[in-house]
Amino acid sequence: MLSRRSLLKLLGISSALPLMGVTRLAWAAENRIIIVGGGAAGTIFAKYLKKILPAAEITIVEKNKTYQPAFVSNHLINGLLDINATQYGYQTLQKNGIKVIHDTVTEIDPVSKNIALAGGKSLPYDRLVLAQGIGFDNAAIQGFDENTLHSWTAGEQVQQLAPKVAGLKPGGVVIVATPAGSISGPWAPFERVSQMAAYFSINNKKAKIILLNGNAKTEDLAIFEDYWQQHYPGMIEAQWQTNVSAIAGNSVTTSAGNTTANLLNVVAANRAGNLALKAGLTDSSGWCPVAAGTFESSKQKGIYVIGDAITPELGLSKTAQSANAQAKLCAIAMANQVQGKAVLQDLPPLIDSEYAILNNDYAIFRTKVFRINADKKLTQVSHGKSQIDDPEKQAQREVLYAQSWFNNITHEMFE
């Protein structure tokens, strides 16, 4: 009689190893996966790929020892969050078998499949996942450089805005300038202004906020403007489709001329990082085109891009929630491919959603849910958002739901 043991012998496989184990081990030896950036997308990708393929050799290269998420920067302004409670380390990921190297990736060579690190080393990969978030188009604003207070990317800058807002002289003026085009945290400019206004309404009643926003006003934004008019009449002046072309000292230049303030918070146009540009991963929009579902780069085989750096053409927003969902799809699709399954099998919905907390008792949400359809296209299947005339209790609840989201998504990334 043919037993399972003799079958394995016939196949030339030692019966000491379970069948799955063999393919996984063989695969691990020739598949080194490197993730550039341990943020909203990178951590989640690593965690879930490891869950499906425990033998995979997964390395995150992250320049910072602690992750300070850009998506907390607004919540520090009026004390919704405390900076000490919002810094995260990579120990749990490491304990779970993911290698974490703290260094800056300076170059990706898609031909030799190597990355170069600022520390001098070079690392070979078989598949590379780029999850480095946004970069800035510095050239778009004369005088914009790494020292400009933007508080728009993960790291040190996150905690630098709140103390400056608190230190504004009585009756001082703040300019918040956010660029045209697709940006990280689509609602973040308006949430930021709301949090500043909430803070000033108690601590600096005569302060003024000027919002210079590069994009046109959309329907969503009526909720913000309505709230501002009701609660802080005269404090906020919003200018739409207004782009800053230069900054110098405490003044900004727009097509309307120069404006001076006591505090400048200027964000240059967002795009994929220089690393992606140099590696030829971007198109003329400055973002990385990818295939829906797998998130494999349309420009370079073997490189995957997830999170803020991907093209807005897929219809996904640049949020941590979207980055988190993209990372899961990418990990499952990659594992499917390795395991010889249909690549787009068992993909969960991609839930792209964003909260904005306007004040301690008022928050709003918007959600779009996408699925991969039979044509392998990402298709929006449902959507919803807060309305201006929602019952009061709903807006109050959304504050606690937004805070729950924050606690749960960071916990999911780092625990």
Binding site: L2, P348, T367, V369, L400, S404, N408, I409, E412
Partner: protein, 219 residues
């Protein structure tokens, strides 16, 4: 190797494949469930302060809630799903106050909802460390025994009989839920409504606070 032997081998290989197909179904539930975790926490054990813990809710309860979210504009459709699925005969459908869950559930098919419900219902209930007031909790304990324990057994710690979750749930979520029951924004089990009304008549508004303190006190 002779032909017969080869055939046996193919059959054995097919059997191995068949068992991985079954495993894949379990994978499907888990992978769909991953899309919930950024809001509901690792393994459905929300860190709070308000988005509910969903690990350990019963299968029928989760299916019922998800169908109610999905078909919020026409609950008849949820009932149709139940009629067409004999295995869902015990599922109850109750209207919910609108939330982003409507968008989430709309994106899932009834079969996917079942796979997800199976996954979360098999996860352990986690205990929560919530602050509570001992005096109010003691009063709540008595109220619970009198008005609620018949269905929410074991001091509200049981999720059996598809009654949702009271112990191990975030107090903010329980507060919202009780508000919705009182305002009519959430559909309510008939007999529960009778008990709730009679409690409110006799003991007043503060009875709700006392109950929530009691549920939060069990850690």
């Amino acid at each position: 190797m002779n032909k017969a032997c080869f055939k046996v081998m193919i059959i054995l290989l097919l059997l191995t494949c068949a068992s991985t197909v079954v495993a894949d179904n379990k994978d499907l539930g888990e992978r769909l469930a991953w899309s919930c975790l950024s809001c509901h926490g690792n393994a459905g054990a929300s860190q709070g302060p308000a988005t509910p813990v969903i690990a350990g809710l019963s299968y029928n309860y989760i299916v019922g809630v998800m169908l109610a979210y999905k078909y919020t504009d026409d609950l008849e459709k949820a009932l149709d799903v139940i009629d067409n699925n004999p295995d869902l005969a015990d599922v109850g459908i109750y209207e919910r106050f609108p939330s982003t869950m409507n968008n989430v559930a709309s994106a899932l098919s009834p079969d996917e909802i079942k796979a997800i419900a199976k996954y979360f219902s098999e996860l352990p209930l986690e205990k929560l460390n919530q602050q509570f007031d001992e005096k109010l909790a003691a009063a709540g304990k008595k109220l619970h025994k009198k008005y609620c324990d018949k269905c929410h057994e074991n001091g509200g710690a049981s999720t059996a009989d598809d009654v949702g979750m009271l112990v191990g749930q975030w107090r903010n979520y329980l507060t919202f839920t009780m508000q919705d029951y009182q305002s009519g924004d959430r559909g309510i089990h008939k007999k529960m409504n009778t008990k709730l009304k009679s409690m409110l008549d006799k003991k007043g508004e503060e009875s709700i606070t006392q109950l929530i303190e009691y549920y939060s006190s069990q850690q």
